[in-house]
């Protein structure tokens, strides 16, 4: 029997993926870990590696189609198997007997012909599943995954008796194909393909539109289809604004000393490290040090509890022409200014090259957004959920400042912070910002880069 290849789980919140391109044809021989297809999800683009060595027996999901995680996409006939793969998998499925009295309707037949209970994949093909109160209550009480129950009711409806039968059998449910088979596939060797535009264009039509809003289109208006990445940005932003009550605060920091220090150090740094010494690593360093002092800022709202993160992983916002990514500097608290500078440089470069991996994009605990890079002096960032706060570093500008009742020209920068007011209050954020400010203003000749 041919081995099934399922749509892998490409990130924790990803629920579906689009086969943007098949890299193999039926009859091709593949080795284990060979790439089978390019998949676009709303978070990343990735290739699906083969789980076995063998010959491609059947491609189930056509190019451009979006399917749920865990959906069967391909059959591979394993090497050494008899050439019996001619038996199409659809034919091998035993057709369940319908109760004699039941009117056989097309959709009921569809549900019945699913390859028996064990193999039932989530009912994404059939009509939208609706469950009766009794079925919902029973399944919740006994922890039964209804998407894996084959219904015997009208049009394949899951009946109370179907659920009761599973409970009576000791809650033994069929194995979930999702949990088992995708694990090894899941981006073990992530070789992401170049990011958005072209790759996703094919998939757009098959992705179910989110919320359609009827807005009149005048002649000459340009209509841009929403790419999966744009869609993700949209929904993440709405979700964050909707769920987290945003509060906002700002401090201004005198970074004259930092500017001097950086100007002195940058040439030697460039020579030694081959890297431009920008201001951002200093800001990140100061933020990380302050997060250590105020761990509450480095936390997450989890409904009935607040999770204070042990690791300090700093998400940095990196913009491309058409999208915004937030790759993560892992364990930023264990990095020097140099280490941070290298991470920033690496992540920014790979973002623009479209080579971010799933791992690069996950695990952030606090976000620093360098809005100053495009000249902003004031911004109100949206929190990168589920983090508790985000800090934006604005442009460094020379301004007249009163020091000891005298006017001086100083290099000033605004640090703007949005906070999830469920988790944080103004007081702790104020102290946190003061701590960051103090660290930045104390940068001087003794500051260590390494």
């Amino acid at each position: 029997m041919a081995t099934k290849v399922l749509m892998p789980q490409l990130g924790e919140s990803v629920t579906e993926g689009t086969i943007s391109k098949w890299l193999v044809n039926v009859g091709d021989n593949v080795k284990k870990y060979d790439s089978l297809a390019e998949v676009t999800t709303d978070k990343v683009n990735a290739e699906v590696p083969s789980t076995v060595s063998g010959r491609i027996a059947e491609i189930v999901v056509p190019e451009g189609e979006t399917v749920e995680i865990g959906t069967l996409i391909l059959y591979i006939e394993e090497s050494g198997e008899a050439g019996a793969a001619a038996v199409a998998p659809t034919q091998e499925a035993p057709v369940q007997q319908q109760p004699v009295s039941a009117p056989v309707q097309p959709s009921a037949a569809l549900a019945a012909s699913q390859p028996a209970q064990q193999k039932a994949s989530p009912n994404q093909d059939g009509p939208k599943q609706r469950y009766s109160p009794a079925v919902m209550a029973l399944s919740q009480e006994h922890g039964i995954d209804l998407s894996r129950v084959v219904g015997t009711g009208a049009q394949g409806r899951v009946t109370r008796k179907d659920v009761q039968a599973i409970i009576d059998a000791g809650g033994q449910q069929a194995e979930a194909p999702v949990a088992q088979n995708t694990a090894p596939v899941a981006v073990s060797q992530p070789e992401p393909t170049p990011v958005p535009a072209a790759a996703t264009a094919t998939s757009v039509s098959s992705v179910p539109a989110t919320t359609r809003v009827d807005i009149p289109v005048a002649s000459g208006d340009q209509i841009i289809p929403v790419t999966p990445i744009r869609k993700t940005i949209a929904s993440r932003m709405v979700q964050s604004k909707h769920e987290a009550p945003h509060a906002w605060t700002m401090v201004e920091v005198d970074v004259t000393n930092l500017v001097h220090f950086r100007n002195q150090a940058k040439d030697e740094f460039k020579r030694k490290e081959g890297l431009n010494l920008t201001f951002l690593p200093f800001f990140i360093k100061a933020v990380v040090e302050s997060l250590k002092e105020y761990p509450m800022i480095n936390s997450t709202w989890a409904g009935d509890k607040i999770i204070v993160k042990k690791d300090i992983n700093i998400s940095i916002a990196v913009a491309t022409e058409d999208a915004l990514y937030v790759p993560v500097i892992k364990h930023a608290d264990q990095k020097s200014v140099l280490g941070i500078a290298k991470s920033v440089d690496d992540l920014a470069a790979r973002t623009r090259a479209g080579k971010l991996t799933m791992d690069d994009m996950t695990g952030g605990t606090f976000t620093v957004n360098n809005t100053g890079s495009f000249g902003s002096v004031l911004s109100q960032p949206i929190i990168n959920a589920p983090q508790a706060a985000i800090l934006s570093v604005e442009s460094i500008v020379k301004r007249p400042v009163v020091i000891n009742d005298m006017i001086a020209v100083r290099s000033m920068v605004n640090l703007c912070m949005s906070l999830d007011h469920r988790v944080l209050d103004g007081l702790i954020c104020g102290r946190f910002l003061q701590s960051v400010k103090q660290k930045l203003e104390n940068v001087g000749p003794e500051t260590k880069l390494y």
């Binding site: 109760p99 004699v100 009295s101 009766s132 109160p133 009794a134 209550a137 109370r160």
Partner: protein
């Protein structure tokens, strides 16, 4: 134990109660010399005399009104309304006087009266002799409304009605009188008013009914058992107040509920039963609560094909039950 007809069980109950209690008496149109148009009171005038078996004028308001007065005086009248269709002139007496006497007099007075009335169709009685009028009385607190479906229940419940300290409307489906026979003990027994009865145990669907329609349900259940569909059949027996616990229990048992009655659908007893199920059993429900009832047309037609259209029958019930089972 003798197997007797429904109507004989009614007669037996009255005779036993009249023997037991001197205060029990019968009044109504043709109940005496004629023995009732359905022969429910046959033999009573001979045994108890015309003082206790009274032929009245054709005035239902007076039949019930006299009964209320006698009841207030301490008697236990059994008023017969010849056809339930004719109860309308007595509605004021029943609803505004009998039902409210205890409440209005702050417990000083009560009205231990039974009103018997044959109801329902299927006997070519047309519009004045076929009506189901029970729903009109099932939102009148102070009144009890009983509608048995078997001879055994008829005797036990009628005796309970006669002994009840408050007014009881006792509806007898006239088609049941000689159609249904059953074992009835010839000794004294009473059944509790306000209690439904499971007439058949089952696991797939719950059918709730009363009166003649209940027998259609039982017949359909028998046939469906051969198809592997197991029906749980509940006989309401008392229509007001309803046995909420029994209804909820029966509904929860299968999660699929069909309510069947001959009375019109809209505003019928079934709506109240459905509401009880909806209120108490939401998380046991596996299908929409269904009703199979008489159509919402003004009256039972005389034309036989039209009467057939109006009336329920085992086939119609079977179809509805099978549909629900397959949902």
């Amino acid at each position: 134990m003798a197997v007797i007809s429904f109507i004989d069980a009614v007669t037996m109950a009255m005779r036993e109660e009249m023997r037991r209690d001197q205060n029990v008496f019968v009044l109504g149109e043709d109940v005496g010399v004629r023995g009732g148009v359905f022969r429910a009171t046959v033999g009573l005038i001979e045994e108890f005399g015309e003082e206790r078996v009274i032929d009245t004028p054709l005035a239902e308001s007076a039949i019930v009104g006299v009964g209320i007065g006698a009841a207030a005086y301490g008697m236990r009248p059994i008023a017969e309304i010849q056809f339930a269709d004719f109860i309308m002139p007595a509605v004021n007496q029943i609803v505004s006087e009998a039902a409210k006497m205890r409440y209005r007099s702050n417990n000083d007075w009560n009205c231990p009266m039974t009103i018997r009335a044959p109801f329902g169709g299927g006997v070519h009685g047309a519009l004045y002799h076929s009506q189901s009028v029970e729903a009109m009385f099932t939102n009148t607190p102070g009144l009890k409304v009983v509608a048995p479906s078997t001879p055994y229940d008829a005797k036990g419940l009628l005796k309970a009605a006669i002994r009840d300290e408050d007014p009881v409307l006792f509806f007898e489906h006239k088609r049941l009188y000689r159609l249904i026979k059953g074992e009835v003990p010839d000794h004294d027994y009473v059944l509790p008013i306000g209690k439904a009865d499971v007439k058949r145990e089952g696991t797939d669907i719950t059918v709730i009914s009363y009166g003649l329609a209940l027998h259609f349900c039982l017949q359909a259940a028998e046939k469906l058992a051969q198809e592997g569909i197991s029906a749980h059949v509940l006989d309401l027996r008392t229509l007001y107040p309803l046995d909420k616990e029994a209804i909820a229990e029966a509904a929860s048992k299968t999660g699929k509920v069909l309510i069947v009655h001959e009375d019109n659908k809209e505003g019928g007893v079934g709506g109240e039963v459905a509401a009880i199920v909806a209120e108490h059993c939401l998380f046991d429900l596996d299908a929409p609560i269904k009703r199979l009832c008489g159509p919402d047309v003004p009256a039972m037609p005389y034309s036989p094909p039209m009467e057939k259209f109006f009336m329920l029958n085992p086939d119609k019930v079977l179809k509805a039950m099978r549909e629900l089972a397959n949902f």
